[in-house]
């Protein structure tokens, strides 16, 4: 996979104000055009670069579209079985308590097969950052219904739209987790507009800074599009996200540390 190294000569009198962080490898993302995973990966690695913690961080990515995350993230990583990322991350954190540990999971992984691990990791207040990409569908396996699939949303296993009588309701797991005392910082972000990207990055930065305080689990849901799964082009998918996903999954902080203040 050859990648063209981007080295245009900087025109005289111009500063580079934005560049890909070196905590991302040169491997080209395999994600579908317009997929939010790529933005989430980039923000995560930008924060790790800016906090200077590349040498202190261990990431855990499970089965799902992001299973190849370790090809893109220039840090030590572990690839977990489907649903088990937060248990793997627990194992890492318990033996390396002073390292930064994050898990990065999709909605099927975190809120279906891994529900027990998710709830109990947060209930133990594991000092890790849990990143949860919610695109309301199983992407890697071809667009099946996920726990967070909206009512009447068409997927390959709800071809006539998700019937709540038959297949239950969209699972708002983030709100559930916020109730647990072990949850220290819980927020829901998105990456479909420049503004939401800026906010999501701030949240991820807080998620890592809080981890140093060892006061519990930081949990960041990122509502994201899935152009292929939703069978839309990328621009329309973000419009659809705005109109549909965000009504069921409203953005914003759900639980913030009582003493307002940066992770000093």
């Amino acid at each position: 996979m050859e990648t063209e190294v981007l080295t245009p000569e900087v025109q005289e009198g111009f500063d580079c104000v934005y560049n890909k962080p070196d905590t991302l490898t040169d491997t080209r993302f395999h994600y579908c055009p317009g997929c939010g995973h790529g933005v989430a990966h980039r923000l995560l690695m930008e924060v790790i670069a800016e906090l200077g913690i590349q040498e202190e961080t261990i990431g855990v990515a499970p089965v799902g579209c992001s299973v190849f995350a370790y090809h893109y993230m220039n840090i030590d990583m572990q690839e977990a079985a489907h649903g088990r990322a937060s248990a793997v991350a627990t194992g890492v954190k318990r033996v390396l308590p002073d390292k930064y540990v994050f898990s990065y999971q999709g909605d099927g992984d975190l809120a279906a097969i891994g529900t027990a691990e998710t709830i109990h990791t947060v209930n133990r207040g594991e000092n890790i950052l849990m990143i949860f990409i919610n695109n309301g569908i199983y992407g890697m396996t071809g667009g099946q219904m996920a726990p967070t699939t909206l009512a009447n949303m068409v997927t390959s296993t709800s071809p006539y739209g998700r019937s709540t009588e038959w297949a239950g309701f969209p699972l708002k797991i983030t709100e559930m987790l916020a109730m647990l005392p072990g949850a220290y910082y819980v927020t829901r972000q998105a990456v479909h507009t420049p503004n939401s990207v800026r906010k999501a990055k701030k949240a991820i930065k807080l998620g890592f800074e809080y981890q140093k305080l060892k006061r519990g689990t930081c949990f960041i849901e990122i509502v994201s599009n899935c152009p292929s799964g939703w069978k839309m082009n990328p621009v329309d998918s973000n419009k659809w996200l705005e109109a549909n996903m965000l009504t069921m999954y409203p953005l914003g902080d759900i639980k913030v540390p009582v003493k307002e203040g940066q992770g000093e």
């Binding site: 840090i75 690839e79 977990a80 088990r84 248990a87 627990t90 033996v95």
Partner: protein, 359 residues
Amino acid sequence: MEREIRLMKGNEAMAEAAIRAGMKAYFGYPITPQSEVMEYLFEQMPKRNFKVLQAESEVAAINMIYGAAGSGARVMTSSSSPGMSLMQEGISYIAAAELPCLLANIVRGGPGLGTIQPSQGDYFQAVKGGGHGDYKLIVLAPNSVQEMADFVFDGFKLAEKFRGPAMILSDGALGQMMEKVALLPEGSLPHTVPAWAATGKPANRPPNVITSLYIEPEKMEMINHTLQAKYKQLQKEEVRYEDYQTEDADIVLTAFGLSSRICQKAVDLAREQGIKAGLLRPITLFPFPEKKIAEIAETAKVFLDVEMNAGQMVEDVRLAVNGKKPVYFKGRMGGIIPSPEEILHEIEQISEQVLSYQN
């Protein structure tokens, strides 16, 4: 090495040995008949240098093991049959990612919810690999509280030498009974964090990635070749067994773990009646002592395999004997422990019918 003598339950002796063997972390879940392992560890944690965490399920526990082992720590878990079944997927991942760790299965009667009485019904799961794909566990089968403690040290050593999961295959009786045990001292098995571990990438090396995913089949096959090469080496170098009077034996019993103690008594009783019996006890169930059994098959007239299951190791015995001699089987299931007399009766019957002994 100065050993400390104690009278302990098998489960607790194993836990104490793990602490002394430098176990850094234990992740487990309660299940009879082995919950004492974790209870003992929680009691000891504040006074010793290790961590123990109770997980929400065996599925979570084995994946915590994966994470901690992947980050270079010496780790252990234990469970019993139904719980060990839940761990199988994780164990396959651990074997594929070449992560050293120690597992203990304190086997109970099955299948299904079964009973809490001792059994050997998990032999196939342990030895043939209970999860998906071609992989093996190093399997040590203790037959005493002493061995439950000693095999913790051996298990960690082998797991780390061959970078893979090792398992102590014990049972509810050995776990629950108390016997004298001479414990190795703390510090007799030093540990260093391996270079491949995911501990945070320093500037001077590329990332360490712990994974079992190889989407290119050529790479996946290469990983499989690596694993198979290890298993060949294990088969060549690490076979262990105990040979009890098989040299001149006409009838050789084969049995592991608890059954082997019962068979040893039966051999003594048979010898008192002039029946030349002997016992070959595999200690490593993988790597299996097939060569030794094949040798014995040259001199012995008949084999009697005794297990607390419906007949599992007997298949490997038959493979090793390779048709040279008949291999009989005596098994008790459901958690029943056979008595020495019961086994003696089998020996006498076989002797009369097959060996036409005139006693």
